[in-house]
């Protein structure tokens, strides 16, 4: 695991190297313009002042290895060796080898450099090869320290994998890649432990997940549940003025998608560093004190979208935008030239192709993807086109893009799919979205789309979130990306499967212009403690979409929890604490109404009575709560089990929308 050196120790990096050579990667990370490069240059000077380490500096600017880099590095190393041969002088502490461009050009012409140059040049098109060659060189000539400014993932990954004891690389980066790969990290943006904890706890609270402050989690777990991704999304959302609830819904869904209930102990420090580009107090206000709108206003004046995008790209995350649009500082822009040249209308499909390809690569790399529908698509369409051998443990987006041929519907959105670094772990293929031209409208749509996708990948046996309309007695299930089997699923629910285009046509053709959007989710939960919270999270999303007010949502939440607890308890048919058949939770919401049905397969139970193995002191309150907070409650039992159906109505747009629907539509809306 990487150790983080606090800023006050950063200046001592030179001393650190003086005491012992640090092979492997040391990363200096922080937001742009925070002095990373200055620190690197200080270290360069300090190392050159000593003779025992051959030192070279490489300014990448988040670009891949440029042509000629190998020769330049070789020349610098040779200059150090030349200097090492000179007898020690009185001014050694300030003397430096000559590294002017002219000097290096002369050195580059020397014959004794030719072998090195050839060695490095041969591998220069591939950073793995380059660093492997550099490692061999270091083994031959003694300790080598390469200082890389604005390093990319492409550079960091091979160094991290290198085990050459004579090769050290110190790299600056504004993305999280450095901390992922490095053995030691110098955090230029240092948050105090207290601030970091506040941030982590605040975000965890918002997300409804457990913050595990004491128990350290493996570094790999951090990589998968990358708080940087979350905070970047939050940045982008704040900049776009997206409402807090929408942002949180997305982040919540993202975390759910990772299928983890905890955030690691590594979280505070890393999140602190990631939020470094924000005004610290604003971030704290949002996360700790829930004053998001105020904080977002402040952020807008201080953080630009370019900053966010630069950080994303610095993290190895892909960003797509309309033609002609280019952030001022867009690292690795070269890889995206094709996208920039494409016509606006083709951008989306290009981005979609890329996204599919990236996910395909992730799939190829470790066979695990969090998003089951995408995995199915990839497995079906790209398995032969993208053999695992095509993708080493790192990703090169351009190559990936070229081999991908399967489009992913992009709709009206600009989708940005990224990959948080190699080797890809399950769930580390991050979905990010940044709205550019029309931030507010687009980001909202993106978030909705993300929710849809994430909901489809809920970790339960059957789960769908759909938008449906009702017309006559027909029930429509409308999905953005129907998967094989969805039609059967819809038919099983007495519904007709429609794609969005058809849905829109039908809605447009309605004479009353009413759009009775309806969202449904079906969960099957094991009858175990705390699984009621999964139902609550699903309900929160639906209630938000349906425009449910906070009070009604809170009451529905309380009723759902009680219904689930009842079902869990009575679903244990043998009366023991062991789990048996799952409990089915069906949720539906549309403007003005929430409906919930919780079914357990166990023996019928007497409403209000204590369950098997429970004392009456501790049970019996659930149904009382349900009846008190819901508008309608129906409990039905038969030999197959018990179902509690609950309805909660709420004001929407000044009226109850269901009241305005024809009776047959109201009837058709029943779960």
């Amino acid at each position: 695991m990487a150790a983080i050196l606090p800023r006050r120790q950063a200046a001592r990096l030179g001393e650190l190297f003086g005491k012992r050579f640090l092979p492997g990667l040391v990363a200096i990370e922080g937001a742009p313009r925070r002095g990373k490069t200055d620190l690197l240059l200080q270290l360069h000077g300090a190392l050159l002042g000593r003779r025992e380490v051959a030192t070279a500096i490489l300014r990448l600017g988040y670009q891949p290895l440029p042509a000629g880099a190998a020769a330049e590095v070789a020349a610098q190393l040779l200059a150090c060796l030349e200097w090492r041969r000179l007898p020690p002088g009185p001014n050694d502490s300030t003397a430096k080898p000559v590294l002017s461009r002219a000097s290096m050009a002369r050195l580059a012409e020397r014959e004794d450099l030719a072998a090195w140059k050839e060695l490095l040049d041969a591998a220069a098109s591939d950073s793995y090869g380059f660093f492997a060659a550099l490692g061999r060189l270091a083994a031959e000539i003694g300790p080598v320290c390469l200082l890389v400014d604005d390093a990319t993932d492409e550079v960091l990954a091979p160094v991290a994998r290198s085990s050459v004891p004579e090769l050290a690389v110190v790299a600056t980066a504004s993305g999280p890649a450095a901390s992922r790969w490095a053995r030691q990290v110098v955090a230029i943006e240092e948050f105090t432990a207290r601030e970091g904890t506040l941030l982590a706890e605040g975000l965890a609270r918002h997300l409804g997940v457990e913050f595990c402050g004491e128990a350290a989690r493996p570094f790999s777990a951090y990589c998968a549940a990358d708080p940087f991704v979350l905070s970047s999304v939050v940045h982008a959302a704040a900049l776009a003025g997206t409402p807090l609830d929408s942002t949180l819904a997305f982040v919540r869904a993202y975390v759910a998608d990772l299928r983890r209930g905890t955030l690691g102990a590594y979280f505070p420090a890393v999140l602190g560093a990631r939020l470094g580009s924000l005004e610290r107090r604003c971030a704290l206000e949002w996360l700790a004190d829930e004053r998001y709108p105020t904080a977002a206003e402040k952020w807008r004046g201080r953080v630009s979208l370019d900053d966010v995008l630069a950080n994303l790209a610095g993290a190895g995350l892909a960003v797509a935008g309309p033609a002609g649009w280019m952030p001022r500082r867009w690292p690795a822009a070269r890889d995206w030239a094709a996208l920039q040249l494409a016509r606006p209308e083709t951008i989306e499909s290009e981005a979609a192709r890329l996204a599919t390809a990236v996910l395909a690569a992730a799939h190829a790399a470790d066979g695990e993807l969090a998003r089951e529908p995408l995995r199915r698509r990839i497995a079906g369409g790209l398995a032969e086109a993208v053999p695992a051998a095509t993708f080493p443990s790192r990703l090169r987006f351009r190559e990936v893009c070229e081999v991908a041929g399967e489009p992913l519907p992009g709709g009206e959105l600009f989708l940005c799919y990224g990959f948080t670094g190699a080797p890809p772990a399950a769930g580390s293929a991050a979905l990010l979205a940044v709205a550019v031209a029309d931030p507010e409208a687009r980001l909202g749509s993106v978030l909705e789309e993300m929710e849809n996708r994430v909901r489809q990948a809920m970790p339960f046996s059957e789960s769908r979130t759909t938008s449906a309309g009702t017309a006559g007695v027909e029930k429509w299930v409308v999905m953005r990306q129907p998967e094989p089997g969805d039609a059967e699923w819809a038919a099983g629910h007495d519904a007709q499967l429609l794609d969005f285009e058809r849905f829109n046509q039908l809605i447009a053709a309605r004479s009353d212009g009413c759009v009775a959007a309806r969202w449904e989710t079906v969960l099957r939960l094991p009858p175990e403690a705390d699984f009621e919270l999964a139902a609550v999270r699903a309900l929160d999303l639906l209630a938000e979409r349906a425009g449910c007010d906070a009070q009604a949502a809170s009451q529905a939440r309380a009723a759902l929890v009680e219904a689930c607890l009842n079902a869990f308890e009575h679903g244990r048919t043998d009366g023991s604490q062991s789990s048996s058949a799952s409990v089915e939770v069906r949720l539906a919401a549309w403007p003005g109404c929430i409906e919930m049905a919780v079914s357990n397969p166990g023996a019928p139970f007497a409403p209000g009575g204590a369950g098997p193995g429970q004392s009456s002191l501790h049970r019996g309150h659930g149904l009382k709560i349900i009846h008190a907070v819901m508008d309608q409650v129906i409990v039905s039992s038969d030999l197959n089990g018990t179902t509690i159906r609950m309805t909660k109505k709420f004001p929407y747009g000044g009226e109850n929308r269901t009241a305005g629907l024809p009776e047959h539509e109201q009837a058709a809306s029943g779960i």
């Binding site: 409804g208 009621e532 809170s554 939440r557 309380a558 607890l565 049970r619 309150h621 009382k624 008190a628």
Partner: protein, 105 residues
């Protein structure tokens, strides 16, 4: 919706217990044990602070009833403070609000 965490502060025989997270069965047990421990250590005034409680379910409330009973037997003063509106509604429904002073945030 994290699991319940408790933090207790005792001063001059009075204790404040801060609830943070979801008060469910396991959380209720934890709370009941903590309150019993405080009472056995001589606390004669207990204040349960719900300011950071995210949710309470009926089983958690059952344990609150135990806490109320224990406080009564120990002749200790008990008060629920910073109770969010949605939780206060449940307290009223289940008769807790009539047995213990319940203060809003």
């Amino acid at each position: 919706m994290n699991k319940l965490r408790l933090e207790s502060r005792v001063r001059n025989g009075s204790a404040v217990v801060y609830l943070d997270g979801y008060l469910n069965e396991s959380g209720g047990e934890l709370l009941e044990q903590e309150c019993r421990s405080l009472l056995s250590r001589g606390c004669r005034a207990l204040e349960l602070d719900f300011g950071r409680a995210s949710m309470v379910n009926s089983i958690g409330i059952s344990y609150l009833l135990d806490v109320i009973e224990n406080a009564r037997q120990g002749e200790a003063r008990l008060e629920f403070v910073s109770v969010p509106e949605d939780i206060r509604l449940l307290f009223e429904l289940l008769g807790i609000a009539g047995r213990v002073p319940v203060r809003k945030p």
